[in-house]
Amino acid sequence: MPKVYVSSVVNAPAADVWQVVRNFNGLPDWTPFVAESRIEQNARPDQIGCIRNFTLKDGGRIRERLLALSDYDLSCTYSILESPMGVENYIAKLALTPITDGNATFCEWEAEFDCAPEREAALIQQIGSGVFQAAFTSLKKRFAR
């Protein structure tokens, strides 16, 4: 089962970063690649089980289900229901940890999934750099001190 792990450091207190990334419907606000997003069936974006339905700037549509959200651990876990990427059993987790030294935030994003073997390398690259790292880079820019 391919795995992707990306981590970064954002120069802002974890509570401030969490305020931004906790919103399951907030991808258009902080990632560079999501055009618009809505939560299906008018559910709250912090209701476990809710589904976000979002459009990428390149036109692709993705539906993801919120599996877990913790304001205590500052983490969010979700699965992909539908996407143009050709992945199955895709589960990802985004987590923040305070860095006491400098009052900054350690951000981690990891995913596991199944896919056709010949697609594995390209998908790891696409998800790792094109999605997770790209989102962290824009998060770092937003909080640049």
């Binding site: 981590s7 450091v9 401030d16 350690f106 001190r145």
Partner: protein, 522 residues
């Protein structure tokens, strides 16, 4: 039970950091407080259950046992078996995670233990600073020493911690595509001449921010402290100013409860008010009622809120209290005089000249002392028949502090809320017992940094304005570009009442409201 958790970023790949930390007997080679260490009974260093016996540089001896070790997770746990310190039930863990962005390492060191209540703070500080932070610094040094050939850009984590993120100035040149605005910029700390009027970039409001178009900007003595660097609220280059009124012009994502076109005011950090337009978090914005003009709120909100907590929270001024107000013709002094009188106090005011004395008399001070021509503490004693003042409001600092102490009665309270003439210096508090004196040093932020704390003061101040308890003279106006002149006038004690800055181009602020009265000049 207490929990201690410290974490840092080490500018080295995770396998290098783990190589150092996984050696359960190797801490004497890097940690500064450990003199020597040995594993008992010749056990392997990575056998779970092994015990290290080690000696501190100060001679104390400790034993710790390895409870878990994982090369997969780069994590180890250990507990304390014997120690000269009462760190009861001490269990600690170290874990590392890779920072893929930059090939660095996140290191977290945490523990739980049961200290005796009386030594709790001391032991938490010892573990936090003496063990964990000192350990971080030592490993950082160890690994950077071995990497001299390939210098890595210094980790941002090494920068001194800043209590509150300061807004970074967006340079006009680098703000591609973004809007621009004109502002006063402090390029380096210094005198009024460092206040430079120029164009800067203005990004779109970020998440959780609104953009405000300023109509009137307040000038406060704290702006001088920011300009000179006395207060750590502005790191150059930056835009000073913490008080203004204006109109919401745009709303960033994630903001609710505000709409474009609303009239608002604020009197709070972060700095940035000396500008035509700015972005800020709306957390401490005050909606302006229709009958409060932009000019009055920009000139008096911060001062009025301060007067409110000084008279009601820091000290509860009651009918019959004897209140001494220094710099009574100044912005906050004028409010204190009027409000204290309304509360039923006997108000004694000090001013520097006769013009100011007449003004302060008109405001309702019962006694006015021109401190340049008579000794104010003697005068207070004379006026009160030897009783002295119950409370002294002193923002003058160095020049008045000793006299203020002398002017206090038994169980009097000296509220030192500024130092326009310089810091008050060191005092032997033992001498305060001669009159059971209380001295307070209130900080504006601690009374106003949440809506819950701020709003009651705003309401109380607005209501005092409406009822005519406090009248604010129309502030003296300076063009925004001439902020340096305003600072010179404020610092030279030439000014009377409030000073405001007015941006050049935007629509005129609301006409001076019914609450304004005679215009004064300095």
């Amino acid at each position: 039970m207490v929990q201690v958790c410290q974490s840092t970023i080490i500018d080295a790949p995770i396998y290098e950091v783990w190589r150092v930390l996984r050696d359960f007997n190797g801490h004497d080679r890097w940690h500064p407080v450990i003199a020597s260490s040995a594993i008992e009974n010749g056990e392997p260093v990575d056998a779970v259950g092994s015990v290290r016996r080690f000696r501190l540089a100060d001679g104390g001896e400790l034993r710790e046992q390895l409870l878990s070790l994982s090369d997969k997770e780069c994590r180890l746990t250990y507990c304390l078996l014997e120690s000269p310190l009462p760190l009861m039930g001490y269990v600690a863990s170290i874990r590392l995670k890779p920072v893929t962005d930059g090939n660095r390492t996140f290191w977290e060191w945490r523990s739980e233990f049961h200290p005796p209540a009386s030594r709790r703070e001391e032991l938490v500080r010892l573990v936090t600073e003496g063990i964990y932070r000192a350990g971080f610094a030592a490993v950082r040094k160890l690994l950077s020493a071995g990497q001299r050939q390939t210098p890595v850009a210094a980790s941002v984590m090494d920068a001194p911690a800043v209590a509150r993120p300061m807004p970074k100035l967006v340079e006009a040149v680098s703000a591609d595509g973004a809007d621009r605005t004109r502002a006063i910029v402090v390029a380096k700390h210094g005198g009024p001449e460092v206040l430079e009027f120029r164009e800067i970039g203005l990004p779109e409001p970020a998440y959780g921010e609104v953009r405000i178009r300023h109509t009137v900007i307040g000038v406060n003595f704290i702006d001088v402290y920011c300009r000179t660097g006395y207060f750590d609220l502005l790191s150059p280059p930056g835009v000073p100013g913490m008080e203004a009124a204006g109109v919401i012009e745009a709303i960033g994502p994630g903001v609710s409860g505000f709409s474009v076109g609303e009239r608002v005011a604020y009197g709070c950090p972060p700095v940035g008010a000396y500008s035509e337009r700015r972005n800020m978090s709306p957390e401490l914005l005050v909606r302006l009622p229709e009958d409060i003009s932009d000019e009055i709120s920009a000139g008096a909100l911060l001062k009025g809120v301060a007067a409110s907590f000084l008279l009601h929270d820091v000290q509860q001024v009651r009918p019959g209290s004897v209140v001494l107000v220094h710099a009574a013709a100044g912005g906050i002094g004028q409010i204190l005089v009027q409000w204290a009188r309304h509360l039923g106090a006997t108000v004694i005011a000090t001013v520097s000249n006769d013009d100011k004395a007449r003004l302060v008399e008109r405001l309702g001070a019962h006694h006015v002392i021109v401190y340049t021509s008579e000794n104010f503490s003697d005068a207070v004693m004379e006026i009160t028949g030897g009783r002295g003042a119950d409370v002294v409001y002193d923002a003058v600092g160095n020049d008045t502090f000793a006299g203020s102490l002398a002017a206090l009665g038994v169980r009097g309270h000296l509220v030192s809320f500024g130092q326009a003439s310089g810091p008050v210096g060191n005092w032997d508090i033992g001498r305060f017992s001669s009159k059971s004196i209380t001295v307070s040093r209130p900080n504006y932020g601690h009374f106003t940094d949440t809506q819950d704390k701020l709003v009651p003061h705003v309401h109380r101040f607005f209501s005092a304005l409406r009822q005519g308890i406090v009248r604010i003279d129309t502030p003296r106006r300076y063009p925004l570009a001439r902020a340096a002149d305003a600072h010179r006038d404020l610092e030279s004690r030439r000014s009377i009442g409030s000073l405001v800055l007015v941006p050049a181009s935007p629509p005129a602020p609301n006409a001076a409201s019914s609450l304004g009265s005679v215009a004064t000049t300095g």
